[in-house]
Amino acid sequence: MKIFAIMLKDLRLISRDRFALASLLIVPMVVILVVASATQSGDGSEGILFPIVNEDQGPVAAALIKVFRKHLDVREVTRATAKHLVADENDAPAALILPPELSKRYLTQKPSTIELLTDPAQWRELEAIKVIMLLADRETASLGDPFSQELLAVREQSITGNRPSFSSLEQNIPGFSLMFVLLTLIFSVSLDLREEEVWGTSGRLAIAPVSAAALLGGKLLARLIIGIVQLLVLLLFGHLVYGLTLGHSPLALSLVVTAIVFSMTCFAAIVAGFVRTREQAIPVGLSVVFVLAALGGLFWPLYDLPKWMQTAANGAVTTWSMFAIQDVILRDEGLAAVSPKLLILFSYGLVSFVIGLRLFRYGDGVGS
């Protein structure tokens, strides 16, 4: 009977935390919805932007473009715009240059070379494009290449780095590293604030002559240092065990890691502001991490997501973190090139800190 009495007492205690109870069901449902949307409702390859420079303007180019349009988001642009979309904006994984006289050469059975300017960091999207190019080549070959000669040769050129291709590990290691750093930060910040209340140290800190900003800032600073070390060690592990490249600029890499962890640490303060009990920390923390990881391209490339989710991803800290880390380690970019993303991440962190401070509740009413 005692065992049932204890059980009933605990159930009463748990039932008082309605937010935690609701989180047990609502949060997994939200995660399932996001993951299901990402994996099943995506636009597939049709969401991949594929700039084409049509310098031929002839029937063969038209036939090729017609096939590409069935599978990709084709945009006919100038050579400069194509390079900008691939190399500067990273909006497109590759651009195709159809040279002048392509149609004339094809119709007289003379081989031509078409250029594919690539961003190998977007390797999944690039693979999808290459499959569709094979399909287009086959379809066009059936339109006037009787003995299936190689009338269209593709010359691939990376315009975002020195390497022409990457393995899936080189996308997954940074992705999973970022996810675990975010997970650690959200749990450690949320649980730490609640545990200090349990230990009673929050009360003492609350009456200490220290501002809420300094109090929260100090706590976040400790997590920032741990997070930076954690992310650096994880990337180093990937480098030593799996040969992950870390770019050519240690300074750029260090600043990117710092900016990422800074923005994530400050974002964790917002999440901690919503968590009132330790019981709430687990479902809320997990859901935030999974949703942000799914949205930000840590599990799969962004083009897999439906359009509305791709738009929403622009507001996720994970998206910009992934962009920045890919710029340094996959695209081999230096500090100057990656600085706009650093600025975004630091700004994201500062804004998050201000919001986190507004939500900050500690001890007996210190803070807000």
């Binding site: 002839g58 029937p59 119709l107 007289t108 059975q109 339109l143 006037g144 009787p146």
Partner: protein, 194 residues
């Protein structure tokens, strides 16, 4: 419904064909304008292919072109192989020509002129696109009251010579049987081809 449309188109092609034309330019124009109507129609790709093949059956002398394409290899084929080759070459050439024509969504033919020499004729045409012109020259010979095309040159490259060099390349590596089997697979009655 599509089948009915296809049959109607084929019947129209046969009935409206140039029954008699003394002038090779006019004969070519009549055929190509019918081809243009087919290419520009809203039929499916395969229906257009069938209609165009039907149209060109009485316009292209594929036997002469096949013999020319084989060149020195012609004599190394047995009589049976020669017959089989000419049947397959007809399919190959028609499909190649027709498929190339289908690359132009709405071909705009321009008839430049004709020259006659020793009873044979050459008709100069152009396929005009917004950006470029594609020069296509037809060599024709009289056949009763009609004209038959014995050679087509696209941008100064002879389709027959081009196919001939590909066949020559294939025959230098593979046996006649192998080449016929390859053509059978691609252009035979059971082959994919199109």
């Amino acid at each position: 419904m599509m089948r009915v449309k296809l049959i109607a188109l084929v019947v129209w092609v046969c009935l409206a064909g140039p029954a008699w034309a003394a002038d090779p330019l006019e004969y070519t124009r009549a055929t190509l304008e019918q081809a243009r109507a087919i290419v520009g129609s809203d039929q499916t790709h395969n229906d257009k292919l069938a209609a165009l093949s039907s149209l060109f059956r009485n316009f292209l002398d594929t036997d002469a072109m096949g013999r020319a394409a084989l060149g020195k290899h012609w004599s190394s084929f047995t009589l049976q192989q020669q017959k089989e080759f000419l049947v397959l070459f007809r399919q190959l050439f028609q499909r190649t020509y027709v498929q190339e024509l289908l690359l132009f969504e709405k071909p705009n033919f321009v008839y430049v002129g004709q020259t006659r020499l020793d009873g044979e004729a050459t008709v100069d045409t152009k396929i005009v696109t917004p950006r470029d012109d594609f020069k296509v020259v037809y060599q024709l010979r009289p056949d009763g009251e009609r004209w038959l095309v014995t050679g087509i040159t696209v941008e100064d490259v002879s389709l027959t010579a081009n196919l001939g060099s590909q066949l020559d390349h294939l025959l230098s590596r593979e046996s006649v049987e192998d080449v016929l089997n390859l053509m059978q697979r691609k252009y035979g009655s059971n082959g994919g081809g199109a």
